[in-house]
């Protein structure tokens, strides 16, 4: 880290949330400023470098409350823009020291930015998560493993040590079956949702501590969607198909198309 070599500054810097087309209709509320440069415009706000400077940032990022506030702000500004314009989002904490440096980026990469914007024009990112309830999966009609069904029925009737052993065996079988099932469902969900969208990516599964749900996450995907009605209908059909197996779908968004902009866009 060269943090101590960088002189600390307290003047205002430029926080860049994302980039829109120069002619985009963006409501400039919440101190959001558009910096026009050629065919594109940066969605920015002035921030104190005292707050965002590299020398203090590690400390700030250790403050969970500060972090959450700033991350929510980043997302909310972009969501407001998304209501009236297509936007290429930047990653959290993209801060320029000077307007010149910001303008240089917009000017130098204007062509690539315009290209990225045209790719997401008229489209939104929608997230689809799927969770499976182990108990409902075990008793659900979709369990094709006859042994599981018989064991589940039997185990509910017997008592004592034998019941314990049967329960153990049942647990193990369910676990194995569930692994197979999750793979199959995730593959099918992604294929069908991608077909109903312009593009799609699978994201990492989130752990229960993160989701705050008891059910296990079995799928996490995000899609670039032009025809929302068609996509949402497909989500509804998939939800109906898998409901009996204890699977529940969750639709999130619309998001700024974070997953559908080339990350290397900012690299010189």
């Amino acid at each position: 880290m060269s943090a101590e070599a960088v002189p600390r500054e307290d003047g205002p810097g430029w926080y860049l949330y994302g980039v829109v087309a120069a002619d985009a209709a963006v409501d400039g509320k919440d101190d959001v400023l558009l910096v026009l440069e050629g065919d594109v415009a940066g969605v920015t706000s002035r921030v104190s470098l005292d707050e965002f400077d590299a020398s203090v940032l590690p400390e700030r990022l250790g403050d969970a409350a500060w972090l959450e506030e700033k991350i929510r702000m980043h997302e909310q500004v972009l969501e407001a823009v998304l209501e009236s314009a297509s936007v290429v989002p930047c990653r959290f904490c993209t801060v320029y020291r000077t307007e010149e440096e910001l303008r240089r980026f917009l000017a130098e990469r204007g062509g690539d930015l315009s290209e990225a914007l045209s790719r997401v024009a008229g489209r939104v990112e929608l997230g689809v998560k799927a969770f499976v309830d182990r108990e409902r999966f075990t008793t659900g009609g979709a369990v094709r493993n006859d042994t599981i069904r018989e064991l589940a029925e039997h185990a509910s009737k017997v008592e004592g040590g034998r019941a314990y052993l049967e329960m153990r065996r049942l647990e193990q079988l369910v676990t194995e079956e569930l692994i197979r099932f999750k793979e199959e469902v995730a593959g099918n969900l992604h294929a069908r949702l991608t077909a109903a969208a312009d593009d799609g990516v699978q994201l990492n599964l989130q752990r229960p501590e993160v989701t705050g749900r008891e059910e296990e996450m079995l799928f996490n995907g995000s899609y670039l969607v032009a025809d929302r009605a068609r996509f949402e209908q497909e989500v509804g059909e998939l939800a109906a198909e898998y409901r009996d197996s204890g699977v529940e779908l969750e639709l999130t968004g619309p998001w700024p198309p974070y997953n559908f902009v080339p990350a290397e866009l900012g690299v010189p």
Partner: protein, 101 residues
């Protein structure tokens, strides 16, 4: 299940922090060069913050702030590396190291 809507799936809830984070921290344009966090730091931060947020809400509820002791997140790493370098220099020069005093 109460929030299940007519279509048979959940939607329209306020965005969960985890969903925001996996996008805002991991995705979007990464600008190298003149900005405040350098690219390498961002990669590190992504991992660190992911760990942090995984339990931040719960931890806060319980009054735990373990991240305060994390050298990277609490900004102590600059100090530590200085101390290390000082000690290395002292050893090279055959001086008693700061720790021995």
């Amino acid at each position: 299940m109460s929030s299940r809507d007519l279509e048979g799936y959940r939607s329209g809830q306020p965005a969960q922090l985890a969903d925001v984070l996996e996008r805002v921290l991991d995705k979007g344009i990464v600008i190298a060069g003149d900005i405040q966090i350098h690219l390498l730091d961002i990669e590190l931060l992504t991992v660190k913050i992911r760990l942090l947020i995984a339990s931040a809400d719960k931890a806060r509820e319980m009054g735990i702030d373990w991240w305060q002791n994390d050298p990277f997140l609490s900004g102590q790493n600059g100090r530590k590396s200085l101390d290390d370098r000082l000690r290395a220099l002292e050893e090279k020069a055959g001086l008693p190291t700061s720790e021995d005093e």
